[in-house]
């Protein structure tokens, strides 16, 4: 590990790290725009200038280098013994010298020359690097009195708008489209101070191609200013009015790490959160824009039961009593419990206990969204399994004898079932003829769901559960990472956390299941489910744990 002198600190830093990251590790801010840890480094913004020190033979001393260097491309490595500075340092650098400070002020003044300073109406305000770095490192005034360029606002694609006036031409967005998505829709038109980001257009402005690849939303995240804006979030909220929790995208089995921004009245935005082994800095637009169902007016809010062929609202007590009554009158072999690949490990674990310990059945099934399309990009992949927890649900439901019926086998398996408890919870899940018929044939069907879905419509009792945004728990992604979701907004109406519903049913059927919070269930999972020994909420933290002995 290189041993460096960073301002007045003497520190060891990871080999190959650049000065920006080394400084960050030690709580020192080096401002930057064009650099992004997930992209190539053109060093075009010059914001990150720092002052390396070198040995100057005529003076026989270590002096500041003649030129400042860009911190983004200055990489720290161990120097050979005869090249150490002062006999011990691999590198000496200052990020706080008067020369560096002056350079920052000058660069910021240049970057702001054509900037409209329209923070009061800019979506980025409050989370803008231009605001923050100008405040921390800028001069506060400009000497520019000439007319500013006013390039037009442009529509780039289905969700992305460009406020060209705010762009500082860092080219992060262009590099993203070349390097990560490999789609290359963005580029620069014109030259010099007239540079503008754009998609290819005919001379009259008609687009020849749109910024519509499935990763397009990421350019909005990485734009360091308010130039690239998501239409979905435009003017919806000031960032400082929202609360944020860490979560996992429920859109597919990749399990991208995300942050979820919310207010009392709903979910406002999903953004990717770095995970080195799963999604890096990115997420796809299906996931990013897929949260709207959480806020839907059509969410199930109260239990329902079938009366004279119609589903009518009822109370929790009535719904639960009905379930107890019907399930008590059926042989163990005729009961089937179907978990959800949309649900957490915790609720599937409790469901498995309900089945095995209380209903005494070993007939389990797994339900979830149908497979969709798979998409591959140079540095990202979207998986075909559109459920976040297929692997975890299989692990939980399959405990013991290990067989969990899916798809055709499930529909066949239901042919002689008399009482079925099925958890859905998918944003959408149409039924085909086979599954429709199989579910219709069940004498007594309980469905726990978030919408009056195709399957809920066939139920005798419907129980309102919650979405990923309203509960705590864990998902296991396709590569075996167990990761944590956190509750943000409250469930609508009388809807209740899924594992609590299942536990209530179990209790009323005489079962001895008594958890108080999801983390407690996870501790039991860690104890009882092979591979999950480290999967307690405490150990999972914000970065997840990988299943042991990769099963």
């Amino acid at each position: 590990m290189p041993f460096i002198k960073l301002n007045d600190l003497e520190v060891e830093v990871p080999d190959g790290i650049n000065v920006i990251e080394a400084a960050r590790l030690h709580g020192i801010e080096v401002p930057y725009y064009c650099y992004h840890p997930g992209l190539s480094r053109p060093a075009n913004c010059r914001m990150c200038l720092v002052e390396p020190h070198v040995f100057f033979p005529p003076a026989g001393a270590i002096v500041p280098d003649r030129q400042l260097a860009t911190g983004c491309t200055t990489v720290l490595r161990t120097a050979p013994p005869d090249r150490k500075l002062d006999g011990k340092y691999d590198f000496i650098v200052r990020t706080d010298s008067p020369r560096v400070k002056k350079a920052r002020e000058d660069i910021l003044e240049f970057l702001l020359v054509h900037h409209p300073l329209d923070c009061s109406v800019c979506d980025q305000a409050g989370e803008c690097d231009l605001q923050d770095f100008s405040f921390n490192h800028g001069r506060g005034t400009s000497r520019y009195v000439e007319v500013k360029n006013v390039p037009p606002k442009k529509d780039l694609g289905p969700d992305v708008l460009l406020y060209s006036t705010r762009c500082i031409v860092c080219t992060r967005c262009i590099r993203f489209c070349h390097e990560v998505s490999g789609t290359g829709e963005l580029g620069l038109i014109h030259r010099g101070s007239h540079d503008e980001i754009d998609i290819p257009r005919a001379h009259d402005g008609t687009p020849l191609q749109l910024l519509d690849n499935k990763l397009a939303g990421n350019v909005v995240d990485i734009c360091p200013v308010g130039a690239l804006i998501s239409k979905d979030f435009l003017f919806k909220s000031r960032p400082w009015f929202m609360k944020t929790v860490n979560s996992i995208c429920p859109g597919c089995s990749v399990g991208c790490n995300i942050t979820l921004d919310f207010k009392e009245d709903g979910v406002y935005r999903l953004k990717p959160r770095f995970h080195a082994d799963i999604n890096q800095h990115w997420m796809c637009d299906d996931g990013r824009l897929g949260y709207h169902y959480v806020n839907s007016e059509d969410r199930l809010q109260i239990p329902m039961k079938r009366v004279d062929g119609e589903l009518v609202p009822t109370s929790w007590a009535d719904a639960l009593n009905l379930i107890v009554e019907k399930f008590s009158g059926v042989d163990a072999e005729s009961k089937v419990v179907v978990g959800s690949a949309q649900g957490t490990n915790e609720e599937n674990y409790v469901l498995q206990k309900l089945g095995r310990e209380v209903l005494k059945t070993d007939r389990f099934g797994l339900f979830g969204r149908e497979p969709g399309e798979e998409h591959k990009f140079p540095q990202f992949a979207i998986e075909a399994d559109k459920n976040p927890n297929t692997r975890g649900a299989r692990d939980m439901l399959g405990l013991g004898n290990g067989s969990v019926l899916e798809d055709e086998a499930l529909w066949e398996g239901l042919s002689n079932a008399e009482a079925v408890y099925l958890v859905n919870g998918a944003p959408e899940r149409p039924l085909d003829e086979t599954s429709q018929k199989a579910l219709e044939s069940v004498d007594f069907l309980v469905v726990q769901d978030i919408f009056e879905s195709d399957v809920a419509k066939l139920a005798d009792v419907v129980l309102p559960g919650v979405t990923f945004a309203e509960k705590d728990g864990t998902f296991t992604n396709s590569s075996g990472w167990v990761q944590r979701i956190h509750k943000s907004v409250d469930p609508p109406g009388e809807a209740r956390t899924d594992w609590e519903i299942i536990q209530q049913v179990a209790k009323r059927l005489g079962g001895d299941i008594d958890y108080h919070f999801a983390g407690e269930i996870a501790m039991d999972i860690a104890e009882n489910v092979p591979g999950y020994q480290d999967a307690t909420h405490q150990k999972i933290g914000d970065s997840g744990v990988k299943l042991q002995d990769d099963n």
Binding site: G184, L186, G187, T206, L208
Partner: protein, 164 residues
């Protein structure tokens, strides 16, 4: 209208490829060839060139808007570029420019609006140019590929009148 290189230009293009380390690097000569054939770079030409060089269309648009010698709309048969950088300005290029404007009864074209400086008969397009690298013989102008030096209004008359 779909665009495609003439057989001759196609051969020219093939000859260019081995001279460059990667296909993308053949961009400028390819655009020159294409512009010579088509007159200007239309969206069809852009897409054709992108296909030939195996790059996104935006790369072509990017390059072509960077350089003022590429046109995205029709221009006159003769493109006049009057240098207006400092040495030419000191040698009174303004006089030359005003003279041409009056003589052709046209304005100076803008890079993004070439029609503005093109005569209705489609014969001339008048542009200002940055340094043409002939400061010692200022003021200068180029008409298509030819350079004209030490210009005076009389000289300009002779030159323009001689063009068919």
């Amino acid at each position: 209208m779909p665009f495609e290189f003439s057989e001759e230009n196609r051969r020219e293009f093939e000859k260019l490829i081995p001279r460059y380390p990667v296909k993308e690097a053949v961009m400028l000569p390819t655009l020159h060839l294409a512009q010579r054939q088509a007159g200007y770079i239309s969206p069809e030409v852009m897409e054709y060139v992108a296909g030939l060089l195996e790059v996104p269309v935006m790369k072509v648009k990017d390059v072509l808007t960077f350089y003022p010698m590429f046109f995205e709309e029709p221009v006159g048969k003769y493109v006049i570029r009057v240098c207006h950088t400092l040495p030419c300005a000191l040698a009174d290029c303004k006089l030359v420019l005003e003279h041409i404007k009056q003589k052709l009864n046209t304005d100076v074209a803008a890079e993004t609006d070439l029609a503005k400086g093109t005569t209705p008969d489609g014969k001339f397009t008048l542009l200002k140019a940055e340094c043409l690298a002939s400061c010692d013989v200022a003021p200068v102008m180029m008409v298509n590929d030819d350079l004209y030096k030490n210009l005076t209004p009389q000289k300009v008359d002779e030159i323009l009148d001689s063009l068919a």
